[in-house]
Symmetry: C2
């Protein structure tokens, strides 16, 4: 049960075939050997590696992050500081995104709550988006 086609590998890892070929093209997944008919033949090593990549992507790591993680993970005897640092930095990025989105959510909620329907001309959504009332004092 070691060798498999690209379709099988995709099914096992919930990855589209095009995505697997894309990972190969950008050098994230190593090129497998080919059959006489030029079909890719993957091994369990590929399966494990792609599993790792997909899980990291699910957690939001960028492909560059994953490259770094894979490079570092190859040295089992080294200290794991660098790996933990990548994860910590990614956590920080994620926290910043959450904070920003929560602020947007608040603004959207406030706006929607304040608009009780009516004509477009008085719609609070439009008011909230319009530049004039914000940042400007009622001039002179």
């Amino acid at each position: 049960m070691g060798n498999m086609t690209i379709g099988r590998l995709g099914r096992e890892t919930s990855t589209k075939v095009e995505t697997i070929r894309y990972y190969e093209k950008i050098g994230l997944l190593p090129e497998p050997r080919r059959t006489a008919a030029n079909y890719r033949v993957y091994t369990d090593a590929h399966l494990n590696l792609l599993g790792f990549i997909r899980r990291a992507r699910e957690l939001g790591f960028s492909i560059d992050d994953i490259r770094d993680l894979l490079r570092l993970a190859a040295h089992g005897e080294a200290p794991c500081d660098d790996i933990d640092r990548i994860a910590a930095q990614h956590l920080e990025t994620t926290e910043k995104k959450i904070a920003l989105l929560m602020q947007l959510r608040r603004e959207l909620r406030d706006t929607l709550e304040s608009c009780k329907g009516g004509r477009v001309a008085e719609c609070k959504v439009i008011v909230a988006l319009s530049p004039e009332p914000r940042g400007g004092q009622t001039g002179a």
Copy 2:
């Protein structure tokens, strides 16, 4: 103080010049008139419109959403239901993004807390990303 160059408009709205030209190209911002030397000349109407667009982008509305908002906002006498619906849907999208990111944050935090440093071979970050332990019982 009505007419201005693209650079001035960019400064007033915290928008890069290239972005303004991009908005024009995709038909979001109407083409301004030109000087004899082919320079764009913007009016206060453009300033207001671009302000609206930028504020909507800050709140995470897509450009397609903004197109719809602008189209609807042009009919001041109509009811604002459609506008509010776009905003409500955008709020929902934002909430889903937050929920997803908060789940990722939890996984990243748990992982990082469990790794107290050591060798890469035992790093909990790597373990958390590896496919084997997850989703599979300890086979037979």
